[in-house]
């Protein structure tokens, strides 16, 4: 009896250990997968066959277009004759970490939504499929204007086709502007500060303020505003001067001076330093904010669905620059593109799925019309019937001031430019919210960035970026 008890105890102990360890190893799916997936199959099971069907897995990080894409995928799953089932999965949190783990365990899905850091991190490791291998002549011709050497085309290989893009604009409340007698949106920073002061001084009694920006996250706020201002003003992108082939932040001085004024009590909405973008949008929709800067692709949807606002009341305009002089184009960030896993067991099938779903005219027109993204393909823009929200707001579309700029060394490979100390967004914070001396801080910033850039080259991780004849107006 005793022996049996001991034996049972031992078995139980071993079982506890195994169960605990199995629990520790975790599910492969990742806890934050949110459920648009059609089945319960593990994430990234490239080439799994479900019954007779071949499963092609797609990972996305975006929730805003998930419903639209799922509908298209459902239709494709019903109509395709290749016996393919597409499994669409959302990884809205920690997409990058999920991809890293999937690469490590060889469980990357067949198709992934583009995320710049993920793309750049693995592009030199043969992780992404060269689309040229499968593209026919018609497809190459159709998307020829979406090929950007050094960005999506590297060494003659095309890794993704961007179909939508975004850039920053000044979003302003027409009613508030009219109330204080401002006829046109500001074109220079001096005008912007003046307008913001006028609105705040005239209407703050009613809780209306001239300017707001979600400064809780400096990088989130400044990459859609200050970065683009600098690009148009000087051709410098994220502190990098392509002509000189080095980082130079001295040109930011004038702009940062205006930003300090803009974020002062005389102009800004109270509590901007702890404001997130959604609370800001709520107050804008409530008519309490005169203007702010944000992305072209997101705001129409926000004011149509999330925080409803009469479309007549707001509009978009180019972001003001310090001098008003246009010396360069402002960058377009790609918002919709897909990568195909070159290690997938079904690359040909994955490409076919990608081509039939994501590059079809029907999909692209519907995507643009639905306001899920701003198409950068002129043919699609011409064919789409836009809703009022976008149609009447010229500056929500891509214009002459916008273009795709080359990648800076840090964008191309973050690990090649490891900067000691705070990044430039956080450093700017010490200027506009702190008492840091502007000139010496910007000089120190350039030194830190250039030191890191050179170190990366020395270590063989990075490479030199210098474009001798770089023309910011024709990047």
């Amino acid at each position: 009896m005793m022996k049996r008890k001991k034996f049972l105890s031992l078995v139980l102990a071993v079982m506890i250990a195994i169960t605990a360890l199995a629990g520790c190893s975790g599910a492969k799916d990742g806890g934050d997968t949110t459920g648009t997936s059609n089945n319960d199959s593990n994430a990234g099971t490239s080439g799994n066959t479900e019954g007779e069907k071949t499963v092609i897995t797609i990972w996305s990080k975006d929730r805003h277009d998930a419903k639209y894409i799922q509908e298209k995928i459902d239709a494709y799953n019903e109509s395709n004759t290749d016996n393919v089932k597409v499994d669409y999965q959302l990884y809205t949190d920690n997409f990058q970490q999920a991809v890293d783990l999937a690469v490590l365990s060889d469980e990357l899905p067949d198709i992934l939504k583009l995320q710049d850091q993920v793309y750049n991190q693995y592009v030199n490791q043969g992780q992404w499929l060269d689309l040229y291998e499968y593209m026919d002549a018609d497809m190459k011709e159709y998307f020829k204007d979406e090929v950007y050497s050094g960005i999506n085309e590297i060494d003659g290989k095309l890794y993704y086709i961007p179909t939508c893009g975004t850039t920053g604009r000044l979003i302003y409340n027409k009613e508030i502007f009219a109330r204080v007698g401002i006829e046109n949106p500001p074109a220079t920073m001096a005008e912007m500060v003046e307008d913001a002061k006028l609105i705040t001084s005239t209407l703050s009694g009613e809780g209306i303020y001239g300017y707001a920006q979600h400064m809780k996250s400096a990088s989130s706020a400044l990459e859609r505003s200050l970065d683009l201002q600098m690009e148009r003003e000087t051709g410098i992108k994220k502190g990098f001067d392509f002509k000189k082939g080095e980082y130079d932040f001295s040109g930011y001085e004038e702009l940062l001076g205006y930003w300090t004024e803009l974020l002062s009590e005389d102009c800004a909405f109270p509590g901007c330093e702890s404001l997130d973008i959604d609370p800001l949008r709520t107050q804008f929709a409530n008519g309490k904010i005169g203007m702010y800067i944000s992305w072209t692709h997101s705001e129409p949807g926000v004011y149509r669905d999330q925080f409803p606002m009469d479309s007549e009341k707001w509009d978009a305009a180019p972001i003001p620059t310090a001098s008003g002089v246009e010396a360069g184009k402002q960058n377009i960030t790609f918002t919709s593109a897909y990568l195909i896993n070159a290690q997938s067991k079904n690359t040909e099938l994955a490409f076919k799925v990608y081509k039939e779903i994501f590059t079809s005219e029907d999909f692209l027109v519907g995507y643009h019309e639905g306001g899920y993204g701003v198409s950068i393909i002129p043919d699609i823009v011409a064919k789409a019937k836009l809703n009022d929200e976008i149609r009447d707001k010229k500056w929500l579309q891509m214009q002459d001031i916008d273009d795709v700029l080359p990648l800076t060394p840090q964008e191309a490979n973050g690990q090649a430019v490891i900067v000691e100390g705070e990044d430039y967004y956080k450093t700017f914070e010490t200027i506009y919210y702190g008492n840091a001396d502007m000139t010496s801080t910007l000089q120190d910033l350039a030194e830190r960035y250039n030191k890191a850039y050179k170190q990366g080259i020395e270590d063989g991780i990075g490479k030199e970026f210098k474009i001798e004849n770089y023309d910011p107006m024709n990047p």
Partner: protein, 311 residues
């Protein structure tokens, strides 16, 4: 002296017993090694490397560079200072408050049970929800706290609670609200351990409520108070969710604490941010932070030795 030899049967039994004991210990031991020892060794190893994580270049040996960099990193030392302000600010208020609430609500009545649940509720609430609620309460523009204070004529103009000047105070208030229930429960458990006969004899000797509390209850709670204080200090040093949700360490690093500063070299602080991971430097920051937290704990344990002496 003659050695006493164990009989074969006894030795066999003893080995079996030991095996049995170790087999029960084994699961925990394996988990402890995997989940505690291994990460610590991993962290210690990467202190000496420059490494960007999976999919990046192979780790590069940098010797003591990461540690030297920490000592020159002004923002890190600001975060250490902020951690002390946050930690001690929280502990100094939360402990007396939790003790007071425990005294008030320790008697088993229906009302007290309900009140205990109310005070304890924030402990089990999601930090993200808490952060959002506190943003709505404290935001400078239309936060309810400002509205109440203005209605009561305590302030004339709204206070920017989440601005550079007041953000740390707001964080401490949030932390107290979120944690006081937890410590209250510890204190209630401690109060129930106080010997009833000691309280009874104090009462017979004519001691009033205050004297009984001061000379009998508090001294007798010494050992548990020591543990509660230690827990509150160590948790205050590692508390990042509260900071992450409410201020993300800002404005201008005014609320950056050392645990969050280490975290940001591994993961993005918010969904809208991307991160260029620096595992080596993050590991160095974490190790130095752990040493600081360890030193504070050791100093505290030395200073609080007296609390072990029960009268």
């Amino acid at each position: 002296m003659k050695k006493v030899e164990m009989s074969k049967g006894y030795r066999k039994k003893s080995i079996k017993r030991q095996l049995e004991a170790y087999s029960f210990l084994l699961p925990n031991l394996i988990l402890f090694i995997l989940c505690s020892i291994y990460p610590v060794i991993w962290t210690l190893k990467y202190v000496f490397y420059q490494y960007g994580g999976i999919g990046t270049a192979a780790p590069k040996w940098v010797g003591l560079n990461n540690l030297i960099r920490v000592f020159h990193d002004e923002v890190y030392w600001l975060s250490v200072r902020n951690t002390f302000v946050y930690g001690f600010g929280k502990v100094l208020i939360i402990i007396p408050l939790a003790f007071f609430l425990a005294l008030l609500l320790s008697r088993q009545t229906r009302w007290n049970g309900m009140a205990q649940s109310m005070v304890f509720l924030p402990t089990i609430m999601s930090s993200a929800v808490m952060g959002l609620v506190f943003y709505l309460l404290f935001n400078a523009y239309n936060g309810e706290i400002n509205q109440y204070l203005m209605n009561l004529h305590i302030i004339d103009a709204p206070i920017n609670w989440l601005g550079k000047k007041h953000a740390m105070k707001t964080l401490v208030i949030t932390a107290i609200w979120g944690g006081v229930g937890n410590y209250m429960v510890y204190f209630i458990a401690g109060l129930q351990q106080v010997a009833k006969d000691a309280l009874e004899s104090a009462r017979i000797d004519g001691a009033g409520a205050v004297k009984t509390l001061w000379y009998v209850t508090i001294p007798m709670m010494g050992p548990i108070l020591k543990i509660i204080l230690m827990l509150s200090i160590t948790s205050a040093f590692n508390d990042i969710t509260n900071v992450m949700v409410l201020t993300e360490g800002g404005p201008n690093n005014a609320t950056m604490v050392m645990a969050l500063y280490g975290y940001k070299y591994f993961f993005p602080i918010s969904a809208s941010e991307s991160v260029i991971s620096q595992y080596g430097y993050g590991a160095a920051v974490s190790v130095i932070s752990a040493v600081i937290a360890g030193l504070v704990t050791v100093l505290y344990l030395r200073a609080s030795k007296k609390l072990d002496d029960i009268y």
